[in-house]
């Protein structure tokens, strides 16, 4: 399950899921932004839009950061 979530999160970042994009195209831009936030926050490996929180977590754990910039269409 964890592996599925990790792969899902990468695919989400790449925006490779055509079906997801197709479904999103029926939403307004505001709805897409809100949906993106709720979708990503469901995957608890990701910190959403908060670089300082991520840096604090990286300092705490000693892990490197992966910062993904992904425009929502």
């Amino acid at each position: 399950m964890k592996r599925f979530l990790i792969l899902s999160s990468i695919a989400l970042s790449l925006g490779a899921a055509t079906a997801v994009q197709s479904a999103q195209s029926k939403l307004t831009r505001d709805q897409m932004v809100h949906k993106d936030k709720s979708d990503v926050q469901r995957i608890d490996e990701w910190i959403y839009n908060d670089l300082e929180q991520a840096r604090a977590e990286a300092r705490r754990t000693g892990k490197p950061l992966m910062v993904v910039f992904r425009c929502i269409p």
């Binding site: 490779a16 990286a58 950061l65 992966m66 910039f69």
Partner: protein
């Protein structure tokens, strides 16, 4: 992935531009970094408007992740080799400080209001940077007109499924003269470790547009070698920019809102035009606001431009737009002659 702290950024509002410098025409970009903000590497490349994912893959992202972890494990003993991977000083620290953006945006998204409208998109950063020069009636510098060149600019076609592996070397190119071979994997450039095609773009990006030399270290089948890359003056201008989403704003400034297309030889024959003369067909003419300047000047969709600011030799849309961005300043007028049926008509396009 679980060995990283992953953060998803969907906006440029409030982003530190002195740290996060990337090709702002992309819609997907990754930074691998330390908590102290030292950048280990970048991932993400783009060279086409429609095929945004042509240069990226899960395989190459996985390879970049693996390499970033290795760099992290050696940190900070390797800090000196990472020095040139860091962002450089910028005119404004965050996007919303740029004059173009400061009256419309704040440092955060308005989730309680019109959230999409409150978002600064990546491409708007590049537009704001160019607008500084345009508003001062100065030519747009080559580094802003041709940002983040792909390795193709020196003749290297990279394999998008690999970390930074060369697929093809163009005969007679800068890369061919340097001795690159298909199958070579780029390991470092001037000492900075390379973990992606995006990292190669960064190394090129930092090299201005004057004559320069770089040492590229490559490996192939277990052996490694150093290659001297000689970049001639103006090398960057071979990097295409017309595919970029930000070219739309430049078409407004330099074409008055037209989208042009160099006519094919077959199309030219039907109109009695030679293959060596200028023949740019107006495929689109903007209809509203600042994108309708050419329309208001009299240009119609389907017109064929046969003279552009005195230039009558064959040119692509990109060459014409580069001419307008370098030689015609805001407030200038740009004379064009068009063919409409059998008529020749002259118009003046006001530069923005």
């Amino acid at each position: 992935m679980d060995q990283f702290v992953s953060v998803r950024m969907i906006q440029m509002n409030g982003v530190d531009l002195e740290t996060f410098q990337f090709d702002y025409d992309m819609t997907f970009a990754v930074f691998f970094m330390n908590a102290d903000k030292t950048i280990y590497g970048r991932y993400g490349s783009r060279s086409d408007m429609k095929e945004a994912q042509r240069e990226i893959s899960l395989e190459s992202l996985g390879a970049a992740l693996k390499n970033a972890l290795e760099i992290h494990q050696d940190y900070p003993s390797n800090k000196a080799s990472l020095a040139r991977k860091q962002g450089v000083k910028q005119r404004y620290k965050t996007p919303e400080q740029y004059p173009l953006l400061q009256s419309k945006y704040t440092s955060s998204l308005d989730y309680n209001g019109q959230v999409a409208k409150s978002c600064i998109h990546c491409h708007q950063v590049r537009e704001a940077q160019r607008r500084i020069f345009r508003d001062r009636k100065q030519p747009i510098p080559d580094q802003l007109l041709h940002p983040f060149p792909m390795p193709d600019v020196i003749g290297l076609k990279m394999d998008p499924s690999k970390k930074a592996q060369i697929q093809q070397v163009a005969p007679g190119s800068i890369a061919a003269r340097a001795g690159f071979q298909a199958g070579d994997s780029v390991e470092s450039i001037d000492g900075q470790p390379i973990i992606s095609i995006g990292d190669i773009q960064w190394a090129l990006e930092q090299t201005g547009n004057t004559a320069a030399r770089q040492v590229w270290s490559v490996s192939n089948n277990g052996s490694s070698r150093d290659l001297n890359v000689t970049l001639p003056v103006g090398w960057r201008r071979a990097s295409p920019f017309i595919w970029r989403v930000t070219s739309w704003d430049m078409r407004r400034m330099g074409f008055g809102g037209m989208k042009l297309e160099d006519m094919t030889d077959a199309e030219r024959r039907t109109r009695g035009l030679s293959s060596s003369q200028l023949a740019l067909e107006a495929k689109h003419v903007g209809q509203y606001g600042e994108h309708a300047v050419a329309k208001r000047a009299g240009v119609r969709k389907g017109d064929i431009i046969i003279a552009f600011d005195g230039v009558t030799r064959r040119a692509t849309e990109e060459q014409a737009l580069a001419h307008a961005m370098r030689r015609k300043m805001k407030g200038d007028t740009l004379p064009i002659t068009v063919l409409r049926g059998k008529q020749r008509l002259n118009f003046q396009i006001r530069m923005q």
